[in-house]
Amino acid sequence: MRISLLAAILLVLFPASLSAEKLVATLSSDEVRISSNFSGTTISVFGIIQRDRQSVARGSPYDIAVVIEGPPRTLVTRKKERLFGIWLNAKSARFPGVPSYYQLLTTRDLDNFTTDITRARYRLGGENVLLSGGTGDAENENFKEAFVRLQNDRQLYDYRPGGVSFLAERAFNAEISVPAVVATGRYQVRILLFRDTALLDSTVSEIVVSKTGFEEFVTRNALERSFFYGLACVAVAIGVGWLGGVVFRRG
């Protein structure tokens, strides 16, 4: 009795180390290069669940969650109110350190294999990325709900149950969509393996989104050498203006 209690406690504390399943996954690409005709792209995830020889196949199904989180940013949610007949921004909630992009792909709807606690613990679902530490009206549920809803509308927060599919009993794949409005930076891809609301294993990998070529040149100069970039813009504008006059001069 005591030994099985000890084993149960250990299993709860160190699920991965005592689990017989191991998750192995790979991405079709670990970088996204933004060039002039960039309009979004997709990255494929392929993975298998390795099971060691001793373990016995149990009845309940596996569930996979693939979470993609973009670089952290400070985002402010504002609410309009009517004042003197016009609508203007009044109250606001500031959320520091939230991912600028969040995508969640799962085999089934989250309710089937997670509880509120596991969702909060493993940051599954847009509402669970709002860490405490927000200021203003950050604790207000309305602001939190509006934040997730607006991010969804802007295609920056996405939840797709059924976005992960099993190709065979222990091989799965998912398609990560990268929209055109993504920010540059390091994106973290976490893949979690669940069974019966328990986490069996997880892996972490990274995707780097960067601008290339001309776009990178322009952005880098605009940010790092802004004065010269400004002068260059002025020179281009005056040049185009002068050229326009020359080309179309009518005596």
Partner: protein, 308 residues
């Protein structure tokens, strides 16, 4: 065809941008205005962030004003001294405008101030212009002469101290209204993404009594300088000048302006002014509409920085 804007960090349809630039260019060629007060709202209504729209249009207005300024320069149809006083005040105004812009952005009230300013100035200027041009059209029909205030006649402005002599305009007038005028136009230009010519020209004619032969050239000269200052300071302070967007607008604008100038020759002055007044009022009304109607979405999100 989609093109990625590196500073705005979004893709736009380049045909749409080109069409916007060309149609506003057409109007600017027809009426002799910069068109910033039309392009900036158009870009904002199309979903481009206002910070990028205002800063980028400053560069675009610079381009379209340069070709006009150069042709007036060649003909010596401008008052350099007056232009310089206006521009120095205008540059200071521009720098202040960019600073206020940044502060408003951080407070989350930039869009509101831009909308309110557009509503105010466009309604006032559009209303005055419509009033004047309709009366001119009526007087032409009825054959009655309107009482025209000719340049050279004095008003209360000419009683102010610190007078300067502007030979080219045959003016001896206080520097104070010139500085105030130049400074305000420069400030508004940097804040709203407009050249301000459509406000500066009537102010110079009616308030300062500058002769009509040098007014437009001097105004364009002033716009070139203040918009250059605005572009560089927006680039340094807000990093929101998108050169790709600016170039796309400029190309459409230059081509549109040529056709517009031709079309404008065929219409009478007061008809053109009435038409321009109607367009100005329409843009003002659109901003007003957005301000007073219940928005579809009460909440909005903006990013204000990195992880902290």
């Amino acid at each position: 065809m989609e093109i990625y804007l590196p500073i705005a960090e979004m893709t736009v349809n380049i045909a749409l941008i080109f069409a916007m630039g060309a149609s506003v260019g057409f109007l600017s060629g027809m009426f002799g205005v910069g068109g910033g007060f039309l392009i900036t709202p158009l870009l904002i209504f199309s979903g481009i962030p206002s910070a990028v729209a205002v800063a980028t249009v400053a560069a675009q207005v610079l381009a379209s004003s340069t070709s006009g300024a150069l042709s007036y320069w060649r003909r010596r149809s401008l008052d350099v001294r007056l232009g310089l006083v206006l521009s120095i005040a205008g540059s200071v105004g521009s720098l202040s405008g960019v600073y206020v812009f940044k502060v408003l952005q951080q407070l989350g009230q930039l869009d509101l101030i831009i909308a309110l300013s557009y509503v105010t100035f466009l309604s006032v200027v559009g209303g005055l212009m419509l009033n004047e041009s309709v009366r001119a059209m009526i007087s032409r029909r009825t054959g009655q002469q309107m009482s025209v205030k000719r340049p050279g006649q004095h008003n209360w402005i000419h009683k102010l101290p610190l007078k300067m002599r502007f030979k080219r305009s045959k003016l001896y007038v206080s520097a104070i209204p010139v500085v105030v005028l130049g400074g305000s136009i420069g400030f508004l230009g940097a804040l709203l993404g407009i050249g301000g010519g459509f406000m500066l020209v009537p102010a110079m004619i009616y308030l300062l009594r500058v002769p009509t032969t040098v007014v437009i050239g001097t105004s364009l000269f002033n716009i070139v300088i203040t918009m250059s200052v605005a572009t560089v300071s927006h680039a340094v302070t807000n990093q929101s000048v998108d050169i790709v967007l600016a170039l796309s607008l400029m190309l459409g604008g230059v081509i549109g302006a040529q056709f517009g100038a031709e079309a404008g020759q065929k219409m009478r002055g007061e008809q053109l002014r009435a038409l321009l007044a109607v367009i100005i009022l329409a843009v003002g009304v659109r901003f007003m509409y957005d301000l007073v109607t219940v928005p579809d979405e009460l909440y909005s999100i903006t990013q204000i920085g990195g992880a902290q």
